[in-house]
Amino acid sequence: MENIFVNAAGGIRNLLESAGLPGLAVDLIVLTVIFVAILVFVLLNVLWLVYMERKVSAFIQCRIGPNRVGPMGLFQTIADTVKLISKEIIIPKNTNKKLFLLAPVMIFMPPMAVFAVTPFGKGMVALDLNIGVYYFVALASLSTVIIWTAGWTSNNKYSLLGSMRVVAQMVSYEVPLLLSIVGVVLLTGTLNLTGIITSQQSVWFIFLQPLAFLIYLIAAVAETNRTPFDLVEGESEIITGPFTEYSGMGFAFFFLAEYANVLLVSMLASILFLGGWLAPFGLTFIPSWIWLLLKVYLMIFILMWLRWTYPRIRIDQMMAFCWKVLVPLAIVNIFVTGIGKYLYESVRW
């Protein structure tokens, strides 16, 4: 069980090599297979997350949730997706057609690209990038541009307001997100995600960096545009913000990409603070990738819990909270971490 995926990848590689293919072609095919596997993993998770969100929200709101399509309504998301595919794609007048249609296609790109470097289990990483943390931060902020494009090209004032908000929000929250990760990087001395996990062997970083974890959690909620930071969509104020003019699959892509982002930030939270695929209490008989999934879903549940409990914050309050509270706290955290590490290493205190 533990090495089922690693062995499968190795098996394919051996098979191809024994067939006498040149090394480059083998690499290419194996990588393609791995990326398709990641794609399938992410899409399946996204479909499941839509269902899970509806069930969790129903549980919180004393409702039942979807229960008609399939056992316990499991196929509800599939039914919804099929419906959305069959809908007409309406393109508003006076818009930049190409950009308008390109935005929903591009929106899946940033989370998908980051999944290439995240370890899914022991030895299960497609690209063991040495600058994994940088790569994540750099790519995650790209979705700002895409959502902004969607809002700008929609030629709708609500979309425009949403786009202005997305830029303001994402730019502000990238900063504390990055600074909160710096604490972890200081402790490990590596930007490699696998390296960060293995250095949590003795203690998870949530215990060494509780403040950084909280800041990361808040910034992650803002990053994924969910309540209390769902200003970008802000349903009761600006309809659905940048996505107002999108119909059918265009809308569905934005909707599903939100869950891909939720999966991504939860995965990063598990990797950076919850020990990734490391088993707690020496329970190593459960495979590492199951441990990672468990931690990811714990994080996702917390995010959903927050979403269905809190109201929405106002835009100026959100900016003030970010720049006046989160950023200073994150900087203090970095200093404290640095001093602590210095004391630990030099004085053995």
Binding site: K157, I238, I239, I313
Partner: protein
């Protein structure tokens, strides 16, 4: 940097204008520079329509004013008619009116509370309030057969006696209500973000509130102690012990929280009325064909949104010569344009929600 003001048309189709209300905002970024509200999308001409109906036939139209508090609207009309015809309403009918009316007030405030939670982004509070409102809807259905448009009052009494099981159900609900209110306070009122969103937002001074002729919870949130049930008791409200909750700042939070406090007071009134409910007839002796003497009357009652005034002019025939409704939501909205200037878009929704308007009532 050159900036430009933007005209944003909010409504009539918008998720949180509580119906088909429209307001045209001039925006500087997110800040409202100017606002013009445009009501009238739900105008049905009720005041004109009822001129060609007989007096009892007017009653169902009043349900359609504030459809979240149909019984209180009925009450306003029958109260005016009873004054015009000088009818003495039997004791039991008055008690039933108070019980059902206060239940309806709680239901209306529950909608206001829940919808307000939804307006500031917390959808869960909305569902919690509607869950409990459902019990009241059931009770109103028990007495009248309809949920939103009960038409339960009659000129001189009520349509029917309380059905079996109503009193127990009502008692049970009153006993349960404090638990529910505690839940709302935990989920909505006590939330830090909610308080940030509503406290010190769009305060109305007591003086301004009086000058703008505001009434109901909005007026009392500004600290003006004026509740018709206390100030000028109609029906049998002088027999009950209850307080008039008052706000101090007149901001969105006070307007919101006052409704929760009023629910508790309404429950207090119902509890007393249930204990004292007398036996007897439920209808006064009213002629089959209602022909009030020529003349006019203006009577006011305290609905859940404010002072509901009904003006009836009779020419001695079976049909009213003219009926005018003073709808509290409409009068309260008069201050809206001025109030939202300088606040953010998100605040506009929060302020509109704190006014608790019902478009059926605004447009009539």
């Amino acid at each position: 940097m050159k900036t430009q003001e933007m005209l944003l048309n909010v409504g009539p189709q918008h998720p949180s204008t509580h119906g088909v209300f429209r307001v045209v905002l001039t925006l500087d970024g997110e800040t409202v520079v100017n606002a013009t509200s445009v009501p009238g999308y739900l105008h049905r001409g009720i005041e004109k329509l009822v001129e060609s109906r007989t007096y009892p036939q007017v009653l169902p139209y009043t349900d359609r004013l504030d459809y979240l508090a149909g019984i209180l609207m009925n009450w306003g009309y029958v109260h005016a008619m009873e004054q015009l015809m000088e009818i003495e309403v039997p004791e039991r009918a008055e008690y039933i009116r108070v019980i059902v009316g206060e239940l309806q007030r709680i239901a209306s405030h529950l909608v206001a509370t829940g919808a307000y939670a939804g307006d500031v982004g917390g959808l869960t509070g909305f569902i919690y309030c509607f869950r409990d409102r459902e019990d009241i809807m059931d009770m109103i259905e028990m007495v009248s057969g309809a949920r939103l448009t009960p038409s339960y009052m009659r000129i001189g009494g009520v349509a029917g006696d309380l059905p079996d099981g109503f009193l127990e159900k009502c008692q049970k609900f009153i006993d349960y209500l404090p638990t529910a209110i505690e839940e709302y306070n935990g989920l909505i009122t006590g939330n830090e973000i909610f308080q940030h969103r509503t406290k010190k937002v769009a305060p109305i001074t007591a003086e301004k509130a009086i000058n703008m002729s505001l009434s109901g919870p909005i007026l009392r949130a500004s600290g003006v102690n004026y509740d018709l049930r206390k100030a000028r008791p109609y029906s049998i409200y002088d027999r009950f012990e209850f307080d008039v909750p008052l706000g101090s700042n007149g901001d969105c939070f006070d307007r919101f929280y006052l409704r929760i406090l009023e629910m508790t007071q309404s429950a207090r009134i119902i509890r007393q009325a249930l204990a004292k409910l007398p036996e007897g007839p439920i209808n006064a002796k009213v002629p089959k064909i209602i022909k009030p003497p020529a003349g006019e009357v203006y009577a006011e009652t305290e609905s859940s949104k404010g002072i509901m005034g009904v003006y009836v002019v009779s020419d001695g025939s079976t049909k009213p010569y003219r009926v005018h409704f003073r709808r509290p939501s409409f009068v309260n909205m008069g201050h809206f344009d001025e109030l939202i200037r300088g606040w953010k878009i998100a605040d506009v929704i929060a302020i509109l929600g704190s006014f608790d308007i019902v478009l059926g009532e605004v447009d009539c």
